[in-house]
């Protein structure tokens, strides 16, 4: 299943947030969205996931999601959004219960996703007992449990320290390499973008417009820390963003 955005524009009251965004998110690819603060990245992601409606333009699903897909458009949130009163396994079973998956069938799925995110030993732990990186792995496991057609990630690693971020990026890469998934990945961090993105969409400052789409051809698994080609791309992205970011920053100060 692909996602297509056609001329999406939006404003809150008279406050224009984004203008005329058209974008294709092809099956099995990770599309990163970068842009200065307040340019509408999170809003765009909410449109894609159906949590909010754009004023103009449309968001289309092209093709049907696979039959075993319980929740085609699935989020991974920056703040993890785990229920603190449920254990790790309970948090995953939460999203299965509504689909009538209980008991042995649920256990099978939970065991599988916990194994894939290396959390098997923590099934019974409560979120408060976990580190930030583990909480985000639980959130990733929960997302995997519903077999999403598209994963929508809003700065999923921003709340984590840089070492944990590196580790989790490795985890995401190995998850993708084993079974490629489709994802829209919003981030501030250009290193994350060049590490995980098959294409990187650079948005201008508010009102957000597409400035450029950078395609990276190096396979995800071969992208190493400190790869010169990636560094070059990252510098290029930074060139694109620097002026926008500076202007956006000054704008925010004006308010």
């Amino acid at each position: 299943m692909d996602i297509r955005l056609e001329n999406v524009s939006h404003s809150y009251d008279n406050f224009e947030v984004m203008r005329d965004i058209s974008l294709e998110i092809p099956h099995g690819r990770i599309v990163c969205i970068v842009g200065p603060s307040g340019c509408g990245k999170s809003t765009l992601l909410r449109f894609i996931g159906g949590l909010e409606r754009p004023k103009q333009g449309r968001v289309l699903q092209v093709g049907t999601p696979p039959a075993d897909c319980l929740n085609p458009l699935t989020y991974i949130f920056q703040d993890f959004a785990l229920l603190p009163w449920r254990s790790v396994a309970g948090n995953i079973s939460l999203v299965l219960e509504d689909h009538g998956i209980k008991g042995a069938a649920a256990k099978e799925i939970i065991d599988d996703v916990l194994a894939r995110t290396k959390l098997t030993d923590f099934a019974k732990a409560l979120p408060k007992q976990l580190s930030g990186g583990m909480k985000q792995r639980v959130a990733i496991a929960r997302a995997l449990a519903v077999n999403p057609a598209v994963m929508l990630m809003d700065e999923p690693l921003s709340a984590l320290d840089s070492q944990t971020r590196e580790l989790l990026m490795d985890d995401l890469v190995s998850l993708w390499t084993r079974t490629p998934f489709t994802a829209v990945y919003v981030t501030h961090n250009l290193a994350e973008a060049v590490r995980l993105g098959h294409s990187i969409v650079v948005l201008s400052r508010r009102p957000g417009q597409i400035r450029e789409i950078v395609h990276l051809d190096t396979p995800l698994a071969e992208r190493q820390f400190g790869d010169p080609e990636l560094d070059r791309q990252q510098r290029h992205l930074w060139q694109l963003m620097r002026d926008e970011a500076r202007a956006a920053d000054a704008e925010l100060l004006d308010v």
Binding site: L51, N71, T74, F77, W85, R86, L94, D98, P127
Partner: protein, 276 residues
């Protein structure tokens, strides 16, 4: 001392060294089981000693040992249970009615804008009314027997429970609700599995207050027309200036309050062990 004013010289190393004073303590309540008991025992011991040695006159305070004797008598004659059982059943029925209605209405106010707009002013108008003032009205509506007592206690527990509950529902983390929606959970699942557990801490601490109010109203209701009940017993003792019996009655109420608060504490620890 003059050498300490010269920075970056080796003499500084020889300056006086002190441990950094600790100032990070406090503001972290811990469980201290025995302190509460010690305070009780101490107060009672002082009262006993004072009344025995005479610097507290018998008209000011009864002797704690006499109060205890009265209680034992009450127990042996079986009168204690004759008073206690109707009181307890009034408390249980009234408080259960009021609290469950209160939680229900509070959740509805928390979830639906129209219900909120309609009921919040009403609740605010009802809250400050001393419910005891309405007892005659309840007697007319629900009869002089148990009905009016249930109604008074239920009404008194209802309003604080409503206010605590909708406040608790308002405070449920919106990002968790967003998460539920993004996974396509049904409305009922979101309420049952996200809103209610998230509001539970606030609801339970509201319940603590509501139940204390329920005991107060129980006594008030029983003072105004009941043959048996702790309230009736206290009223009778008070009318006769029988301080031992008065205090015995008050003691029973206090114990009731402590028991209820302990029960809620147990429920809290069982249901809310996910909080650190």
């Amino acid at each position: 001392m003059s050498d300490t004013t010269m920075p970056h010289t080796p003499t500084e190393a020889r300056a006086e060294a002190r441990t950094v004073s600790f100032r990070g303590g406090g503001f972290a309540p811990q469980r201290k089981r025995w302190v509460g008991g010690v305070v009780f025992v101490l107060l009672i011991a002082i009262a006993e000693w004072g009344t025995r040695s005479g610097w507290i006159s018998a008209l000011t305070l009864p002797k704690p040992s006499d109060v205890l004797e009265t209680l034992i008598e009450l127990h042996q004659s079986g009168l204690l249970y004759k008073h206690l059982s109707p009181s307890l059943s009034r408390l249980v029925v009234g408080a259960a009615l009021g609290a469950s209605l209160g939680v229900g209405v509070g959740v509805l106010i928390g979830l639906f804008s129209y219900i909120r707009a309609g009921l919040v002013p009403l609740v605010a108008a009802i809250f400050p009314i001393p419910k005891i003032a309405l007892l005659p009205l309840f007697v007319i509506w629900f009869g002089i027997d148990e009905g009016s007592k249930y109604a008074l206690i239920a009404f008194g527990t209802f309003t604080p429970t409503v206010v605590a509950t909708y406040g608790a529902v308002d405070n449920v983390d919106r990002s968790l609700i967003r998460m539920g929606q993004s996974f396509g959970l049904s409305w009922l699942s979101i309420v049952r599995k996200i809103v209610l557990p998230g509001a539970m801490p606030g609801i339970l601490s509201g319940l603590r207050i509501s139940l204390a109010i329920a005991i107060i109203l129980l006594v008030a209701a029983e003072m105004l027309g009941a043959e048996y009940g702790i309230g009736a017993y206290i009223l009778e003792a008070g009318a006769l200036y029988d301080l031992e019996r008065l205090f015995a009655g008050v003691l029973i109420l206090s114990v009731l309050g402590v028991v209820l608060s302990t029960v809620i504490g147990l429920i809290e620890r069982h249901l809310l062990d996910w909080r650190s």
